[in-house]
Symmetry: D2
Subunit: 283 residues, 4 copies
């Protein structure tokens, strides 16, 4: 059953929910999910509403126009998605393969509702793995000097393939501000610590040095500031004095896989709203 | 700011959400929380909606009448609550004191939005504790023979004190079907296992015997069947071969306190809907 | 650095620890790990001790004989392992592929210290996956009628390949008592519930029906009684009324993978002692 | 049954374990717990060993002298404790009462094996609570100006009462370096964040601002650097965009209680070894 989904944010006012649900009901839509949230501190209203298109008065191409007056009345930021539209995905990876394998499997198994179009790497190590799953692999080696020009070629490829979402599956290169702003809120990274603890390099080593009793992983949208983007998901696992750095790395790998794949799934299901460097997850 | 809350369940149909939110909006109510859920398997619609009464067209005493036509149109089961109405609570306890202390503290500290009116026990051991917190203590010793007649006196007391919610804080007596049906979905019990594992007596001992690696606690509404009522909340903690039964009991106590108090809070905040021997928690 | 590991269980008495550690020290062994546990209820002593072979007075082939007098003095059950001996592993699988993929990756990545020699299935669906990873695949279809004779051929293959450990990665056939007793404490199964809750078929459906708030997965050694063997590891994940059976199955898959792989790793690292239908895990 | 416990740390060498266990065995001690750990990175050996004194060749007063040669041979730091010696405890508190209540209950219920001798506060708000539990309450108001002289009077009281352990149960004053060094590794603090995230003031507010999906609490020994001491225990709870700062504070309170009380219990059971600004917990 095909559905439409509206993701809305706007200044909080009386009557928004009634107006939006009224719009769907009056036009004979059957609401299957509705979730709203109000940030009372900032007085912002958020909503995700999904309804069946079967029997809805407007064809897909006309819904946006029909909804526009409501959007304007409440000064809404909104996105309209259809379940029939599947996003195109690119994975960026360097040499660690655990997140890559995990994502390759999940896309192949249909767990993640997206088209995995290609994998980009700054190394060739994982080419055989990617090709084993029948996914095109592109090698873009980078140096300090050529970084910006290589990124331009990457962007060209991503645009040609109409990529909607970029997943950094332990990609060990920092993207330029230009690249990041080109794919605002469409690049998901996995950081192998419980942010904001251990921003930057070698978080497991630093967790070991600090003697923490729990380690974590964090998936977030990439912004210009390293590891400072909106957090999508986090999870943790217990460690003890018995765990060496290698044990932490091993335990962390399982966290990274799960935390990254949850973020990718929610993004592809249009369940994430970003505001104020935070996320609302309509899970 | 005083609010009204509607808890609704009814057969799923088009237009319910629009009609309910429209009712509030047209009458100048400001919705502060709205949450809905559809059980697609059984085709049942659930909703919790809360709005500010300030400026709402109807005074509290007239809201129910005004809402009735909508309720009837959709064959709704519904409850209407006001934030100004605070529920009266009775705790039943036997000899274990950890949940009792925890609840006494939480009510005293204002963490639980209810009037703790009294504590009933089949023993006198915990009288000093209860009185230390300034709460009336009633001793109702029970034997197999006098159980039903003692329960009648308990019910009399509970009715006189207009008790809305009964919390069994490790109460070691099984309530009669008559008692249970008198307070349908208004008796919350804490069971010291991860239900449905280890129904009945001595769950920690049986968990130890079975060699489980995680133990749990479950809060649920009491029904006529032992430990079979709708589950409200569960939580778990890891154990190992190093943990003796006594260690499990100690670890479990912290679980029981937290799991019971969450259930009590959600109930007092009118966040729980019961159907089909399950709960919807609009947390 | 090659090490030897002793896994010991015996009636608890004074002096065991001193005697065992004295044996290693006097013979110039450097202990790198030592862990002991006493079950005071049953008065049983358990120990895992690992020491470096470099410089140790006895060559590997003579250690057992040298240790025997101590073992006899304390009526020990014991196993002696060397880090240089790597166990041979067979995976049994039916049609669900998530645990299979996960294990194939972990063996390939060197996360699991074993030789994955072969995969056996009662279906052919997963043949391409197994072969993609370069592992031999054997198809043994089973019916009620031919089950015992097919098992005999499986045993023949397992013996020829000198398989030490069998991993049931969602294998949907119940093994005969004969098969089970042939590989006592060497068959690890993953059950997709938090045992002892939901023994048997369709645990996620039953968890959904019961309305639990947490679901789990359990890895255990297979015994003659279904889902009653010694539990090795369990883990859980939170669910809510929003989760359909399908959501539970999806969330559960990630649990199953992690819980099964931990059990396999501990087994291959000789960290598990079984007694009294329970496990001691010297993690 | 009275026991002795040795907590040992020393440079790692061959034969330590054999020598220590041999000492106990030869003198007819029955070991009930033994746990060791080696930090291979720093080559340090750690051990906790506990044995029954009944039948042991040396009376309590002579054990230390008898053990000394071994300690010297291996350059050990060690502590010798007897289960009959119960530590004296002082709680420091300001105005938040949740950890205080929790500790008062646990000491009263016998969950924590220590003598709670007194409570010190810089406010008088919690005097009635403390006295309700029959514990002496001391009021030491502090200003920037009088801080050091007030601390001297506190130290005088703590020495007179022979306090072994100080628990900061949300005490809102920073102790001077002099005070801290006087009670090295004997002051336990609860910090209401997942350290090293959100060191310092208002961690819940900052967690809210950062949009984390999990919050935590950390118990640690107090050192001269704020929130930088050796971590004893941590735990976490999930939050979402729905949680306001107040919700985080409420959820956090339950964490703080549990995380603090675990640290206090382990300390009182002599299960913690501190080294290199980290802890080894022989749980």
């Amino acid at each position: 059953m095909e559905t439409a989904t509206l993701l809305i944010s706007c200044p909080d006012r009386k009557g928004i929910l009634a107006e939006v649900t009224g719009f769907i009901a009056k036009n004979n839509g059957n609401i299957v999910h509705a979730d709203q949230h109000i940030d009372f501190q900032k007085s912002i209203f958020f909503m995700r509403i999904e309804w069946e298109l079967d029997g809805f008065r407007f064809p897909k191409s006309k819904i946006e126009k029909a909804f526009k007056p409501i959007a304007e009345k409440f000064s809404m930021d909104y996105q309209l998605h259809f379940s029939s539209e599947v996003q195109n995905v690119a994975i960026f990876v360097s040499r660690y393969d655990h997140c890559l394998y995990d994502l390759l499997y999940r896309f192949k198994a249909g767990e993640l509702p997206g088209n995995l179009k290609l994998v980009i790497s700054n190394h060739t190590d994982l080419k055989p793995v990617v090709e084993m799953f029948g996914v095109p692999f592109y090698h873009f080696p980078k140096t300090k000097e050529n970084k910006l020009s290589v990124e331009e070629r990457e962007i060209e490829l991503l645009e040609r393939e109409e990529i909607d979402l970029i997943v950094l599956a332990r990609y060990m290169q920092i993207l330029s501000d230009k690249f990041v702003s080109r794919f605002r809120n469409r690049i998901i990274n996995i950081h192998h610590s419980f942010l904001p603890a251990f921003v930057g390099a070698k978080p497991y080593h630093r967790a070991y040095e600090r003697g923490v009793k729990i380690i974590g992983a964090t998936s977030h949208y990439v912004t210009e500031e390293l590891d400072q983007g909106p957090i999508i998901e986090q999870d943790v696992v217990r460690v003890s004095h018995r765990d060496s750095v290698e044990d932490m790395i091993r335990k962390g790998r399982d966290l990274e896989k799960v935390v990254l794949s949850r973020a990718v799934r929610w993004h592809l299901e249009n369940k994430i709203l970003v505001y104020d460097n935070k996320t609302v997850i309509f899970e």
